[in-house]
Symmetry: D4
Subunit: 256 residues, 8 copies
């Protein structure tokens, strides 16, 4: 395995004076130590996505520090699980950034304008209560430059609402289905499309819903094939995988 | 509460020589002691249904004894969870009886011929694996004189199969939906009918299905209203409640 | 399946100027889009009940909007899980409405006065702590025009309290039994009546009660037949099914 | 704490030649080492009951060895969870012993004849399936010299069967209630007696019964006071505690 | 079953003018309806203990009302799970009462002075965190006239602390062992005494303790015989059963 | 929604005598009724994959019947969960078919020869015990015409084994990681690739593994992004989704 | 067993006037009764570590009392789970003490200066969220005189960060690995070192993480040998065992 | 990290003709591919222990192949979870080997004779049912050259049996405690020794024991410090960690 693929280039850059010793060290190690965090600077090369900031439990100061570092890389910056209060503080520190209150995300350097509208991700919810999780997914995908179609509140209790928008779902590259309670929408959609379906259980429901655990288990045992599942309320994770899938279409275009 | 509603009549019958002391005692107590079982002889009056024999763990001899006693009452006799081997033994002992191998039920004095075809119970399954539980439900209902429509293998993975038979489901007095895995069919049907839906989870599936527990929990947290649930694989219980509901229509007729 | 059963009539109404294009569209789609909600306007036809508002997580403004729309339909309007604060706000916005604090329901256009007193639903609780769930059930049923008998605090720890009121329970069309802890009342009642019993587990108890999960499981494995179960604390769901059952008697009357 | 209360006496007996060195060692240590088992010879003094043999996983030879040793002590000998095959082998080895197939117990030196009939233990079951566990309890109690009244198949689905025998239950010193499924009988009995009730959940039921776990949890959260619980199917344990309680009455007699 | 054992006496008292019609009705029904509660007035006769007030979820006014009624009966009055604030309010309303803050109990007409010091209940805890549950047990037992020995903080991590007080434990009529975490103290004590042991799991511990569920399960599967278990943190329930057991000794005395 | 997209064509074919009425009916309904199964004949059009036969619980005769029908369609035929005994029987009935004993799959009309070797699916296992699940995945993918690289027994206990083959994993279109026990391999691989990772938990392990439930939960809460999960031991499901993803590359080629 | 190993010395000290009767009693009993706590004064002799104060649920006054007593013994004093507020109060009462806010520990008489730097404990975390638990472990070990190397934020999502510091981990006497989510780091480290690994699951993660339960189960079923596990978030317990292990090296030195 | 620490030496050996190319490749890769297994040949260097064969699910032929390879290394060879039948087959193939039926282990090249008797591991069980797990631990440790003291059947139900052998336990380098049911022995031993305690829960018990899960959870929440836990029935894992700990003493000796 090649942990330091550009070692020679880094050393040449150092010799040529294009890099400080600190920066060379960081490139070789693939880690930027900030004390409170060890940023994985090799991620974009390895995973095709830059480091994403999980905002829960981080102070505004810590997020600011990480963002300042990432800003130098000219990559899109995404912080998830950012409370309204922290989001407003970040908006003041980074006037170019944007805070999405429903998605609880803060974004800088979004690639939203570069989307390939033809190859889009469908984000589908069963109810209105699932929308915050859906928005986390949608904002994540848009930040990384993917087109998103939002198809909300089409749960099976009134299944004609789903059929009205089925064409739009069927033409997506990949479908994210977000539902709470028994999660039946996943199986219905899974039986009607020919692209991968990523299911996100939400913690909507009560009693036997068990904070989303029933929904999770239910989706995993779905009668429809072609469905994979992420953790409860994990809109970000679903979008991340969906982008990886949709990128195959992007790449195609670029290669042509 | 009146535990012995016909006490005077019983005593008069005894005095008149129409009853033995043993039978009088049994009527007053509402219990027939067979040693290995204490038959609740008051059930038909109290619950509107005679005692049903749960065959699991009972020997052929024990079932025979109970049936011999019940035969005197001229009520329909139903034994559930009867294995093939025991069913064949009972068929020899009671040539007028009938054993249903898929439903694992043995029936005597069925009221099947007396059904009111207009007011029927729809028994709907998601897959073929759910059919044994469905047959337990169907045979139970038919034994007690209720019409049944079987609508099998219409799960949501190919939802057009359900729509093809929706009219038949919508015209039932009550709908029993039987499904394993994520049980999504319950919510879809629940959103499309205006009569009570009784959901039966089956232990079909594996891994996160947890022997039907996921299906059970999923059905309880269904997004559709008008759904109530019985225990895993409990086709008999669902039919029993469905008959109670459907009987309201029967009664109506009789009263008119 | 006929998703648009009155399409021709709608088109004729439009042509005749009796409908605006917006209203025609809404009738054909069966959906009223409010942005924050997609109201299922086809429900009354399909399920026999209008859309009910689940108040938890909705703002007063959102509920007001939905109610304004529903008011045009002259159907009973029910919002459940409405907090005291929101209930009072709604009472000011809709002076003809009524807020039930114990049931946490807000009601407009109640059909309470139209009840058929002869065919009633018995709502039975084991203890006083179960009363809020019972009131949610009772108010729901009354709003949709069904008679309710409240029989509270008759749990099996002092079983003579149950027997004192047994006649009233036995004469109901359908019985809702609401209990926490071990839920034994369900089995006792189930053994004494000849109508369907709908059991509602409540999250009353502690330790091994597991927030109602033990009660739920216990009720599902009840030794009495004729019992079906709904989710923990789901008084609304039990009443909804009970109304569907009791309506069979109403219909009978109307047909005669 | 006095671990060796009769040390001096043991040493005197050794000196006087009444004891071998091996026996003296065993008395001082309170342990008889058999290689495959370390018999606790001090139990009768400490707990008031001799060592009981848990037959599951022990060979006939091992049980024989332990019994041979215990026979010298002139104490009642009880082996529980003994399969039919092993029970018959033991019957041949110990012609004075008795094997109870339903209880799956083998007994030697039973004190059954010494019972105080006035102070009895009531062993109550909900159904016939609970009888094996009940018999384990009954045989255990009888072996240690306690009177037992068996009151079987009086579950709440036909509650009049319970009331018919309530007097007998109320006059017991202590009541053991054995039930599967939802275990409702425990709460009903607990509300009707003024003596301790020991509840034994059985693994009877299916699906949501969870191999007796639901019954166990349900009994622990019983609405009746005065109820304590033992492990699933643990008839022996319930009887052991019941004997300790009933002995208080025995002692009383002896002291008078 | 005799639900109204003193019916004739009640009627004679009514005729003689010793009873009002209301009081006669209450005696015959065995229920005092207060609107917010249906007091079981037959409990002392049936169970040997008066109704106990579960304070959680009741207002001071409701508790006051119930206590006013019970005061007429000259029975000990116990309210459990009473918060400090409510306890102080009750102390002002009933100056003869006493509030125990650690036990969270309010007591009136205690029989504490009538105890039989010779026959006592040992209340044993593993740690100091278990003391509140232990005090609930101790105050309950004392209120009903039973002697209690408190033996606190003798858990097995320093087992010599237990041995120092073992004699006192061994001489009790019945032992209540209260422990959190793994609950090992129950098995150690169970192996050293010849009287019934009632185990109370507490919700002390974290992580794998699962809010007391691990302790509960652990105690149920104890290797020591003679142990029965009550619900998590249920000091009251343990004391209630312990009093029933200890009373056998009391009765003995009275009978002699 | 268009449930019958080729209705006109079907009718024209019927008129022209190219179709029997039975076949026309089947095309219009999208269902072939075999009695014991209702084959979804519309699946290839809707989902891009033909119906797959779940062999568990089906007889050889039933599988033969379904396969005979599918053979007419010239689509690849896959039966999963086929036991050795049934596999051999099918091999005799269909000499052109192939049975894979480790994968427990039977295949007819495989598209294995048509694979696009450049765009492959990597199937990675942690241990040798995971191989049967991996083979189910590999055979599924190959049957539908996708190239597969098998990289087995590279679990993290000897992590150098993984690094030796990392390049091969990184160049795949999509990676399926199959592991039991703690499933750590998923997170390690997820952190090293830039394509979607589908994780399959296996029921390998014991005790706290809980039949794969721990592995499932562990994979869902993986610290690596880009991971989605399918049900325990569900190699087929993982391959199905992987094929949908890999097909995007296929399509690309075809479009170019 | 020798519960009072120095009894003679204690008595001689008493006789010689070197001890008060109270202190002699305490030495003989091995318990110091403070009313609210029974300090185990024999622990250092028995376990090699003094009593540690679990701060949760103790008041500042109680902790002060225990510390005053322990100060006389000249042993290191450690209180864990001490909130910031209580920590500051203790800092004022004991100016020589030190409060560690992240570790939530208060320490007096630390042996930190006496460490043997050569034989150290490696404390390794997967993420920054695990640091508080890691600091509890590190402070505990340092207080008892052990050297600690902190290696934080080296989780497997960016596994090169681990390899950069692997030498340091491999040279430790014992390794504590602290991780949340799926806990994969434990297995990776376990496969790369030849010393004992103690795993601490943390409650970091959401949904299927189940408050650390998934991590706990996952670590227990790790594919790497040489791993043992402590309770969720139990940094103290891990350090305590690690010190016992590392001390074997200390002892070695001292013995040489 | 240095994955190939002896690369130069390997290459020199190859050049000198001391190694075949195959062996050189194997040394450089650290993996011996056998087709059905990828033996980690670098383990002894990395972990200090050779690869151990997990026998469950492996054929005799597979085990023979792996052993033939390992024999060349002159390291001790241990196969665990080997059934009696397979053990006898291996005994015939490797006459120098030894099969331990109770431990279900097969051993070759045991280092049993090289043990350092002074520094031993105490293997302690609560009951006789725990002995098979204990023997797996004991045989593992002896195979790797560690002395073992077996102290069996000393559970807390007769705690004097433990005290009789406490000295022997206290003098061990490390203690393995093996128990089923509630696992109380772990806490008692943990409170009495000053060396690390490794707890092994066994699946002994029934009902609430939950196949060892209760024991596992109970041990993790033990009130004694210095206890770490391994998976249910994992005697091998406990011994492996214990050997790592005990080796610190060995090393000491060797260094001296």
């Amino acid at each position: 395995m090649d942990f330091q693929p550009n070692l020679e280039q880094t050393l040449r850059d150092l010799q040529a004076g294009h890099l400080s010793v600190e920066d060379a060290l960081e490139q070789i190690n693939g880690v930027k130590e900030l004390g409170y965090a060890a940023i994985d600077t090799d991620r974009q090369r390895r995973n095709g996505f830059p480091e994403v900031i999980f905002g829960e439990g981080k102070t505004v100061e810590q997020m600011e520090g990480i963002m300042q570092f990432l800003l130098q890389k000219e990559l899109p910056i995404l912080a998830t699980r950012v409370s309204l209060q922290k989001g407003e503080a970040l908006s003041q520190l980074f006037p170019n950034g944007h805070y999405y209150p429903e998605a609880r995300c803060f974004v800088l350097n979004s690639k939203k304008e570069e989307v390939d509208a033809e190859h889009y991700i469908a984000v589908v919810t069963a109810g209105t209560s699932d929308v915050p999780v859906a928005e986390e997914a949608a904002v994540t995908a848009e930040t990384f430059g993917h087109a998103v179609h939002r198809i909300y509140d089409v749960g099976v209790a009134g299944i004609h609402r789903l059929f009205r928008r089925l064409d739009e779902i069927q033409k997506a590259s990949v479908v994210i289905v977000i539902a709470g309670m028994e999660g039946a929408l996943v199986s219905v959609v899974g039986g009607l499309v020919d692209v991968p379906v990523i299911a996100v259980p939400t913690s909507i429901g009560y009693g036997s819903n068990l904070q989303g655990l029933t929904t999770l288990m239910s989706m995993l045992t779905s009668c429809a094939s072609g469905v994979t599942v992420v953790n409860i309320d994990n809109g970000f994770g679903a979008a991340y995988s969906a982008c990886m899938i949709n990128r195959l279409n992007h790449n195609r275009k670029e290669n042509e």
